[in-house]
Subunit: 406 residues, 2 copies
């Protein structure tokens, strides 16, 4: 142990953080969620896939096969853009979705969260405007905040285009609202983007989880239909294996013009070199065989859970409460009567009824509406969902003076 | 297919990239390395671990065990800071290296490349000065460049401290030089950092690959000895499993004061949520049992390869060529006679002798020395190494007028 003069200068870390850190804050919600991991709480809070649906046995077999057949390659460094056969598969998938493209239009990322971070890094400078829905996915705000943009409301119904660098949108079964944009809304968004000359970031995280109704074309597909080629498009599509296969593999992608994908690839290289080689090989083999049947089982599961939640909401909720009716994904958005506050309600719900959800306000980048909350139905059995909604309805009714639905 | 008026505005992507992209450039070296994957080339270029040393069978068994025992957890989302048992193991390892700490001082990252990116994101604003060795690891420059710093030479021998935000150093078997800082040099670096009030980023990527000589204490350990606690230290240590276990798992870590680790964790969350859950569980189980024996085999392998390279260099190189004598790691740095250029030499070496290496200039952030090159011995057999060095010596000698070593 060296002794050292007392006049040694102590390190003051907080004085030397970059200015961007003023925009990077801990999510109260994520902190809160850590406290909810108690067995007697019925939770609609976590927006995570049902682990009972992970194809564990298949994944186990595939890891073993890949390591037996190509262990040295699977455990070695690989290229920043992602393994070519996986990019080929993704490109074929995008092509089938109406976006003709090839592997050069695809970057494999560490989940779609990293796609959003790299897009922020590529496009956003301090003070740039990002258009977001009200409410929007808070993880996107978490990715963009480090690049110090300002946010403005994306108003798809509005006639005049906004002045912005880019718009972020979750067009299918959005987190947190469960809402899907109609084809006409997608076209109107493109009209606005062309008139205002901004780029569109299309987050397709839940797109494969449609359990009723018919697919709408991706915004990128409509864009390519207008512009004639993905190379002339102004939309970047972010996809992920997290909601369909497993979030733990940390695999997603960006699909867009080469001019953008090439730059994102450079940023990926500087950020973490490449996505896990072995996980890419495992994901490719799994999606190459029997994947559609797996997706059908997953959709059936969420269809049942969503139906249970809609039935419970209709049965138990007081008049004056309204909610969304998603055709896919994991989320229902609930509007409380004016004057109620989702965050205050959560405290009461935990204390009085042992039921949890995510208050709505943190999902708003502009003009928060506190009289809202997000419910996820991905984890509960139909019975748990019914019981949890019954409890939640009791808390809400008690705050409203006890008015009940007919 | 929609037809569209001809006056539709086309997207001009390059006009809207953020200013930071002026600092983010494709690595010529990485582009070059892609061309070297030809069977008749003897390559000392790739700085990657010997895949023959990956414990494939063990990794295969462990993936199977983890998925059988805890598949739902292994495939689910997990916390941004990394799994607590893995952080406990890393903290115990750091403690054994002279850095008493606990899991709160550890963030698990996607390789140490991501540690460098997150550190850049936390500390660097446009124009901040980063002190780097001449030459330095080009991947660190790739991580920092997106935050637009300027670089200055880190001169550890200098008396007066530099004015800088942070210094980046690879003290053990550096990439690209193979050089190790003596204990006195580490202390002098800390003196400078205290006098100049800058932070130190210690990249310990190769630290476990010592095959001769005795360990030097990590800079962070000397810092903690001075300051009394990791919480008062000014050094951040970046470690990785990429060189010892497998780079494909994409697992590394940062060890530092909680005040810093907490902020880096927020940035990790916004960047990619968390490192692969299953890969973290697999790595923890592997390093928990039989790991030291694996490291000993790895060190023995690199010891033999390094010895073969030193013998071949001594035997074949012309007078006027000098090189480093690393006690660990993967790299030898070779100084060419004045007037020779590593990049030009590579062209000749590929065309005339089918031998490859990395020219030295790109490893310099300031004042490049073109009369240098990096040789990696991690991939070759002793016979290949001898033959490759013989060929390289022929090319160099031919450029020097044929002067040969005695």
């Amino acid at each position: 142990m060296t002794t050292w003069p007392d006049n040694r200068r102590d390190m003051s870390w907080s004085d030397r953080f970059a200015g961007r850190m003023a925009h990077v804050r801990a999510s109260e919600i994520r902190e809160l969620l850590k406290l909810l991991d108690q067995p007697d709480i019925l939770s609609f809070a976590g927006g995570i896939p049902d682990p009972a649906m992970f194809p564990i046995a298949r994944i186990k077999d595939v890891y073993a096969d890949i390591l037996a057949e190509a262990g040295e390659q699977a455990l070695q460094y690989s290229v920043s853009e992602g393994l070519t056969p996986l990019r080929d598969w993704i490109a074929a998938k995008m092509t089938a979705m109406g976006v003709p493209c090839d592997a050069g239009n695809i970057l494999v990322t560490a989940g779609s969260q990293q796609a959003l971070d790299l897009i922020g890094k590529l496009f956003l400078s301090r003070g740039d405007t990002v258009l977001v829905e009200r409410p929007t996915y808070m993880g996107a705000l978490g990715a963009f905040n480090a690049y110090e943009p300002t946010y403005a409301a994306l108003d798809i119904a509005a006639g005049k285009p906004a002045d912005a660098q880019l718009a972020y949108v979750v067009p299918d079964f959005a987190n947190p609202t469960g809402r899907t944009l109609s084809r006409a809304e997608r076209e109107r968004l493109l009209d606005q983007a062309e008139a205002g000359d901004f780029a569109i970031v299309e987050d397709g995280a839940y797109r494969e989880l449609r359990f009723s109704g018919a697919d709408e074309p991706p915004v990128l597909a409509l864009d390519v239909a207008r512009s004639g080629s993905i190379e002339a498009a102004r939309t970047l599509f972010c996809g992920t294996f997290s909601k369909t296969l497993s979030p733990a593999l940390r695999l997603g992608w960006v699909c867009g013009p080469r001019a953008v994908v090439d730059k994102l690839t450079l940023l990926k290289q500087g950020s973490d070199l490449h996505a896990s080689t072995i996980n890419q090989m495992v994901a490719l083999r799994i999606v190459s065989d029997g994947y559609e049947a797996h997706l059908e089982r997953l959709r059936a599961r969420y269809r049942d859970q969503a139906a249970a939640m809609q039935a419970a909401l209709a049965q138990h909720m007081p008049l004056g409460v309204s909610w969304s009716h998603p055709q896919g994904g994991m989320f229902v958005w609930l509007r409380l009567p004016r004057g109620l506050d989702g965050a205050q309600l959560l405290e009461a719900a935990l204390a009085e009824e042992r039921v949890a959800f995510v208050p709505g306000a943190p999902f708003f980048a502009v003009e928060p509406d506190a009289a809202s909350l997000r419910l996820s139905y991905s984890l509960g059995t139909p019975d748990d969902i019914d019981e949890g909604v019954r409890r939640l309805a009791r808390v809400i009714a008690s705050r409203m003076g006890g008015v009940r639905a007919a």
